[in-house]
Every structure is written in structure tokens, then in C-alpha cells.
Amino acid sequence: MISELLDFSSNKILSVDICIVGAGAAGITLAQKLIDRGTDVLLLESGGLAPEVKTQQLYEGEVCDARLHSPPDRYRQRRFGGSTTIWGGRCMPYDAIDFEARDYVPHSGWPFGLETLLPYYPEANRLCEAGRFAYRVAEAFAKPLPTLLAGFDSEEFSTDTLERFSCPTDFGRRYRAKLASATNVRVLLHANVTSIRLDANAGRVTELTARDLAGNHVTVRARRYVLAAGGLETPRLLLSNRDVQPNGIGNDHDVVGRYYMCHIAGTIGRIAAGGPLSNVNYGYDISEEGVYCRRRIALRAAAQRALRLGNFVARLHHPRIADPAHRNAVLSSLYLAKFLIPYEYGKRLYGGEAIGFGGWLRHVANVAAAPHDAAGFAWHMLRDRKLAQRKFPSIIIRPKRNLYSLDFHAEQQPNPSSRVLLSERADALGTRKLKVDWRYTEGDVDTVTRSLALLAQELRRSAAASFDYDTDSVEAEMTRYGAYGGHHIGTARLGKDPRTSVVDPDGLVHGVGNLYIAGAAVFPTSSQANPTLTIVAMTLRLADHLLSQAAGS
């Protein structure tokens, strides 16, 4: 059932078996998995069913360097469904190498391997509505696909792995009816957790307080608590509760909020492929189940080990939109329509580049030169994205010549100096705001720099294409838009050693016997993969753990 905090008289005490904080990808997955499983579940959500300005403002905070990180209230949504209400839907699992302790990636290594998560990925794929768990071309498609890039065959890079796209599924809208009809799950809207109380020994959480913006509050007492509030809000909650543990909950060793990772991403250079246009097929293929899939150029695990590089993938991409020199009517029409594009998508499309009135006129001229191209594209976006239930995932431009740029997406290394902490200012409910100090390392620059060089070399060697880019601009390009938005990873990392991690391999906060954390906050490394699918898989694993614990007790 779904209720409002207001429905309960103030000072009401709610007693349940499991209290989940946050109704996003993790919280909704967990609550669903617990339906009809013999436990009373309370799912606390700060927001309502629709976006609300005042609630979203509770996410506001500071960033140490605005060039490197977007404001904390961007790329995440404080409402039922969480940030799945705005995500792009890109799904792929972590690679086996991502779980390994690699001596060339400091602080890397998970306490378990990919095989531990593999049983959960198919269901995660289903919940994300990304079709079958098949991430190689041969597994996903009955017939061979035309080559991604004719003639490109490399021992260093593969081209047969896929990313699959969710609708993108808004978990709130998609699974609302299931939660509403569940008799053992109550969703409480407008319930902001403002305090987490520990017993005197800091060994257990005794209760939570949740408040709405009108001043109503309830107390929640549960056997077990799960923080599923996202990679930024979870450390905020841990750090801001200091009445028993002076450094914050689970933070005896100053690990909470550290190791903050996003991804290192950017667009660079000029790839020129020879031969006819059919030599390059860089867009989307639709699987039999109707799911958009896209191939990528992925640095193989053996090459990562041999060259001591982080994980790295790349895709062929259209030229930079803001620069009218591309003379492409579709890209120019996108530039001219940029006021229609949400901030989260527009940032990497336009990059905040000022082009002046002259540049704007050149975009108009590009559109005027081929208005039918622009109109055709507008129709495609209206039909296949705006009106479609399963949305065309991104902008794919069929070029007049085989000229592209390269879009890359790389692992960011865990780095204790990259962190989130509390600012001195408080939000409307009195909780201290976040301050984000995201940093990258020389190792991150090295992963991108040498991966790009290796790709250029392999393209040249195979005579598939030439790849020209300014080798001196790599660091500038990988930070042009700052940290990749929306991927908030590692701030309450998982591990066996309490000195270097926040939660144990089951997701239980070290030393606090009934407080679990779900979501990308617990990931010790960032992989090349977007995190949502793995968030859902890890949450399914947590659900199994919670159920087995309940059965045991």
C-alpha cells in the first residue's frame, strides 16, 4: 500500500521487520522482492509521486570545483522512482576483471567475483526491462550483424559486446501498482529520514525519525534497516548522524564518503573510415524482444592487465554539436532546439560552449541547406522517442561520409581523496548539506590516454580507419564536462576490512548489526559499466541475504 506520512498522527511509532530508506532502483527492487515473503516492510520515500521543487531542494549542496562536478541536486531525483525517473536506460553488467584486486588500480578488488552476481543479473535485466541477459552479439542475435567497423580486428579491443537499453524504465511508475497492492509492504511518501538513532554501544540502530516538510514526523522501529538513498545521500545520512559515533555512523576509520567515483568520459578526435557508408554500423540494433542494443569497442581484459590500464570502452559518435563546422542540418537543428533538452542530457550535448551570434547563424544556415534532413530527424525523434513506449536511446546521425568522433567511457580509480562530506549549511529539515570534492587521478588520465593511443594504433594497423586527435588535449577532453553525471559510486564501499571499507560483503555496516546499505555506494570499483543494472543485481542479492537471515531467526 502507498501512504503519506501525513496519514499518521505525529509521534506515531511504526514497527516493522525491514525499513528501507529510498524508493529508487535499489529500494523499489528490494521492496518488490520482499512482497509476500513473510516480512513487514516499510519503504520510506522523501518525495511524492511527482517532482516537487521544495523536496528536490533538499538535495542542494556545494561542489568544491564547479567545473568538475555538477551541482548535487542535478542528475538525481528525490521522488518516488528516484533517479530512474530521468535515467538514460543504458544497461550492461560489470566485467569479471572489475572484481579483481589489480595491483595497478589502487584500492581495487571486491570480496567476491562476478560469479556471485551472475545468478542475479538475469532478473535485474528483467526488472530494468532490458530483455534477455545476453551481452554478446552471438548470444543476443540469431543472425550475424553487419560489422561495426569493417576491417577492424584487434587482439586489444573487442567489438562484440553490447549495451542494452531499458525503456528507460521509471521504477516508480512501472512497479507502483505492485507495491500498492502488496499487503506486507507499505510505501510512505514525503518521509525524509532526519535521524538514525543507535544504541549506546553503536551496535544496532534502534529507530529512525522521518519528517515531512510540513513538520509532521513518525518514528520507525525495525529489526533491520536498509539505506538505499543513492551514492550521495547515503553517506550524507551516515555522516550527519553523530550522536553516538562522533564521526558519523560506520565511520570510525574515516572511510564514509571517500573513494567517490563517477566515470571518466568524453568525446575526442576524428575517425575517418574508408569505403562505403555500409562499412560502419555504429547505431542501434533491435533484438528479437524489441530491445535496443548497441555494440561498443571495449578494451579486452587481457590488454588491461598487460598494459596495466583501467577498464575502457568507446563508441563512434557524431561530431561536436555546438561547432557548426560539421555542416550537418540535424546536429544544427539539435543545437537550435537545445532549450527543449533537459539539463542532464544537454550538458554533454552542448557543453556550455558559447558560439556567438555568428555561430548561431551558421547553424541556421546548416538547417536551411538540408531542411528535409532536419525534418526527417524530427519525425524520427517524435515517433521513436517522444511517443514510443520503448524509446530510441540517443542521437544517431547517419553521416554523409564515414567521419565520426570517438566517445569514451572509462573506469575511474578508487581514490580516498575524492570524497563527499558535509558542508556547514543545513537544508530545510536541519540536515547538513553535502559538499562534493570529486577528484581524478593520474591513473585515470593514464587509462584514457594510453587506451586512446592503443585504439589509434589498432585502427591504423588494421587499416580500418584513421583516428586523429590532439594527444595534448586528452585530460582537457576527459574533464570538459566534469565527472560523468548520475553515477555516484563507492562512498560506502564494501569490503572485509573495516579500516578500508564501510560495509561487509553482505552490505551490513561494519559494527552495526542491523544496518545495511544498498546501491552503488557499496561498489568498491566503478568499472566501465553504467551502474544501474548492477545496483539492481546487488539489491536482489541483498534481498536473498535478508530473507535467509529472517528464515534463520
Binding site: 501498482a177 505492485k178 497492492s181 528479437e288 524482444e289 524489441g290 513506449q389 520503448r390
Partner: protein
């Protein structure tokens, strides 16, 4: 099974399949009687050692045929066993895991209520074995395979999102026939009721997607709630009218696309799961894997 078996409803699909199976596979002597043929039923009953009552059709047909059979049987000297094919619709709007002890709500419209009524007569008769069948699919199953194939090919059905999350209590036609045979033969089960559906239950979405892939009706289309609403509220009445005018009121018309009834869309959301422990243990039911069942079905409708 050398005794004479009367198949009541032999002019229906399941009845006709049962007649064929009894005759060819089992070597049984069969009296095949149409659902509405009271005279033939009256003639054949005295010689029957068992009756398979397989009535599919309208609510009126279910009620009428059931009433006729049990009226003719009342007071019979040597009352035969009746295997009474019923439907999971007797549970009506019940949700969750449903076993044979759950109340029969019969609240999903006239068909659902008629099955409850017919079961009531069977229970009163005392020597009936009641089989509550799930969703029959397979070669020749027009309702859940033939029509669905047309909808999938036309991309009018596919991945329904939240509208297709309900459990689909599929039963492959051969498996259902095997259960009916067991129910005819197994001693000491008069008065028993069995749910009949495969143990592993896909969602309706999974059924539609896997069936569409087997049919080659790909890529499967994602269909939104609004589009489904238009199908059920606007298109369905129009198509039904066209179907009647073209002379194909029951079983559809090849000239008119089959309407997607609101009841089907309601079923696709319905979270009900037939508990089949009893049929598995007592009648040794076994299940054709979904992929294999769909492969054969798609071949038939391909």
C-alpha cells in the same frame, strides 16, 4: 482403458482432441457427443463407464450442457465417473497462490459464474472429478494460441509492460489431455478437485514475448497502457460488430482482425497463481517445457 468413455463436448476443440487421443493412443471405445446434443447424450449415457465433460464456449453453453448432463445422470443406476473440465475462472478475482480449497468467487463475469454453477452440479452429483484448467495453449488452441498469434503478428500484442505482469497459468494441450486421461483412470478420486496448469508460470509478458519470438513476429513491440485501452474500449466493440456482420461471431472471421477483449487485458494484470501440487502428486502430471510447447505451437501457426 477398454470401457466405453463418453466425451461430452466432442464438437469442441479439447473434446475432439480427447476423442482422438482415447481412440488412437489408448484404444478406448468412445461415444463422441456434441455439447448441445441432448438426444445423443441420452442415448449414449447408459452404456458409458465414464464421462469426460469438456464444455468450452459461452456461459449459457456451459450452464446448459452441465445442467443437461447432471439431470440425465441423476438417479442413474450405475452412475459413471464424470471428469468435469472446469476453469480457473471459478476463482474469479482471487489473487496470490490459489489451491483447490480457495473459495470460488466466480465474480469475473458470466463465464466465470457459469463455471461455478456447473461445478456446483458436479459436486452434487458426487462421482465427478473436477479439473480446473488454466490457460490452454498449443497447436489448435484457438483462444490462447491462434488468436494470440494473429495479435502478435499484427504487433497489437507484445510486451505490455505493467499491464502484462500477471501470472499466465499456461497448460500445454497435450499435458491437459494427459491429466484428463489420468483422471478417467485413477481409482478413488471421485469428489476430488484439481488445479491444472504448468508448475513454472511465466508472466503474460513473458508468454507473449517468447511466443512472438517463436513465431518470428519480431521485433516484439512495447505496447503502452493507453494503446491497450483504445484496443479494448474502442476497437474491440467495432471489430466484434464487424466479425458478427461477416458471419464469424464465434471462432472469429478470417476477414476481420480479432478484437482484443477487455477481459483478456484484465487477465494479463491478474496476479493469480494456481497451486498444482495436488495434480502433480495425485495424477502424476508432467509439464512440457514452455520453450518446447511454444516451438510446436509456433510451427502449427507458422
Amino acid at each position: 482403458m477398454s470401457a466405453v468413455v463418453l466425451v461430452h463436448g466432442a464438437d469442441n476443440f479439447i473434446g475432439s482432441q480427447l476423442v482422438e487421443t482415447l481412440r488412437q493412443r489408448e484404444g478406448t471405445q468412445v461415444h463422441a457427443v456434441g455439447a448441445a446434443d441432448e438426444a445423443a447424450l441420452r442415448r449414449a449415457l447408459p452404456g458409458a463407464r465414464a464421462v469426460a465433460h469438456c464444455i468450452i464456449g459461452s456461459a449459457a453453453q456451459v450452464e446448459r450442457s452441465g445442467a443437461t448432463l447432471y439431470r440425465l445422470l441423476s438417479g442413474a443406476a450405475d452412475a459413471p465417473r464424470v471428469v468435469h473440465l472446469s476453469s480457473m475462472t471459478v476463482y474469479g478475482s482471487a489473487t496470490g497462490s490459489v489451491d483447490e480449497t480457495c473459495a470460488m468467487r466466480g465474480d469475473l463475469g458470466p463465464y466465470s459464474a457459469s463455471q461455478v454453477l456447473a461445478e456446483g452440479l458436479a459436486a452434487k452429483y458426487g462421482r465427478a472429478v473436477i479439473l480446473r484448467s488454466g490457460v490452454e495453449y498449443g497447436p489448435g488452441c484457438t483462444t490462447w494460441s491462434g488468436r494470440v498469434a494473429r495479435w502478435l503478428r499484427a504487433h497489437r500484442l507484445g510486451d505490455l509492460g505493467e499491464a502484462g505482469d500477471g501470472q499466465c497459468n499456461l497448460i500445454y494441450i497435450d499435458d491437459l489431455l494427459s491429466v484428463i486421461l489420468s483422471a478417467l483412470r485413477e481409482p478413488g478420486i471421485e469428489g476430488s478437485v484439481f488445479n491444472v496448469a504448468a508448475e513454472d508460470k511465466p508472466t503474460w509478458n513473458e508468454y507473449f514475448i517468447e511466443y512472438a519470438v517463436a513465431l518470428g513476429a519480431v521485433p516484439v513491440r512495447r505496447i503502452g497502457v493507453r494503446r491497450l485501452s483504445v484496443e479494448a474500449r474502442i476497437l474491440a466493440p467495432v471489430l466484434k460488430m464487424a466479425e458478427i456482420l461477416s458471419g464469424g461471431a464465434r471462432g472469429g472471421s478470417p476477414l476481420v482482425p480479432p478484437p482484443i477483449p477487455a477481459s483478456l487485458l484484465r487477465s494479463c494484470r491478474h496476479e493469480i497463481s494456481l497451486n498444482v501440487t495436488r495434480v502433480k502428486n495425485r495424477l502424476a502430471a508432467h509439464w512440457t517445457p514452455l520453450a518446447e510447447g511454444l516451438r510446436r505451437t509456433a510451427k502449427f501457426y507458422g
